[in-house]
């Protein structure tokens, strides 16, 4: 009888303490930023050369833009 009572008591204590588990205390920081390769909002124009949603094309477009716009040596080899 005493054994049964002890077992029931143990189960009750376990159930009670189970409710005391740690709750997540994050600040709820936004981590839902839309990737840039998804493109701008509807109605806004994206730079030519890639289609919104195409990650590989976006990356290639940016690489090409950087080389074309910032590297003169690809345009002329005679510069000092």
């Amino acid at each position: 009888m005493s054994g049964r009572f002890n077992a029931a008591l143990l189960l009750a204590v376990a159930a009670l303490l189970g409710a005391c588990s740690e709750k997540p205390q994050g600040a709820g920081t936004a981590r839902h930023d839309t990737p840039p390769w998804q493109g701008p909002a509807a109605g806004q124009a994206a730079d030519a050369g890639w289609r919104a949603g195409d990650q590989a094309a976006w990356q290639e477009a940016l690489r090409t833009r950087a080389q074309r716009g910032q590297n003169e040596y690809t345009r002329s080899t005679s510069q000092p």
Binding site: A27, T29, A30, R31, P36, A45, Q59, Q67
Partner: protein, 210 residues
């Protein structure tokens, strides 16, 4: 794709502040806030060098580490951004940042310190790409339009290079090889001195803002 990075070629920077102006105009940056600025080393001394400085989007960003409300996040492209809805404007990030990137607008009667503002690599914030809310808080999202940061694209001498880290490194390497110098102008040796006979023989140059 590698991480997005900036580098400023001090051999080319002419301290025109075009990058500063481009940034302010592109994002409607409020009065008193400079997301980017030009710093001159050895100002007034022949051979002075200037570099354009903003958030460097650190791989292990100290601002991110010290923020008590964890408002920072890093995009897949390696851009360090923050959520102004979470920021409490405490200024810890400002103390932690070695580049002075975090800025705080004084927009109240008593100079109330507002939410932190910094360079976004023209990637906006957590709001929808290109939305009015995003523009109001963080400025224009040029990356989502397939464009590079306005400061780098507007740089007249192409001293400031921005974009995919691999491409940026490639462009800078090409310049250094072609002109036969450059890597020594701004780097480890400039900042900490070159070792002479096993000791640190050189002192860091004096820095002066202009």
């Amino acid at each position: 794709m590698a991480r997005m990075k900036f580098i400023c070629d001090s051999e080319r920077c002419i301290e025109c502040n075009g990058c500063v102006t481009a940034c302010k105009a592109e994002h409607d940056v409020p009065w008193g806030v400079n997301r980017r600025r030009v710093v001159t080393l050895n100002d007034g001394v022949p051979g002075e060098k200037s570099i354009s400085v903003a958030c460097m989007h650190c791989s292990d960003a100290p601002c991110m580490a010290v923020c008590p409300v964890d408002c920072f996040y890093r995009t897949d492209e390696g851009v360090v951004l923050h959520d102004k809805d979470v920021c409490i404007g405490c200024g810890y990030c400002s103390y932690a940042c070695p580049f002075g990137a975090p800025q705080f607008p004084s927009n109240g009667t008593f100079g109330l310190r507002g939410k932190m503002d910094k360079c976004t690599f023209c990637a906006g914030g957590p709001e929808d790409n290109g939305s009015a809310a995003e523009f109001e808080k963080y400025g224009r999202n040029r990356l989502a339009e397939g464009k590079l940061p306005a400061c780098a694209e507007m740089c007249s001498t192409k001293a400031l290079i921005g974009g995919d880290g691999d491409v940026v490194a490639d462009i800078f390497r090409t310049r250094v090889i072609n002109r036969g110098k450059g890597s020594e102008v701004w780097g480890w040796g400039t900042a900490y001195g070159k070792p002479v006979g096993g000791t640190n023989g050189g002192a860091a140059p004096k820095a002066g803002k202009s």
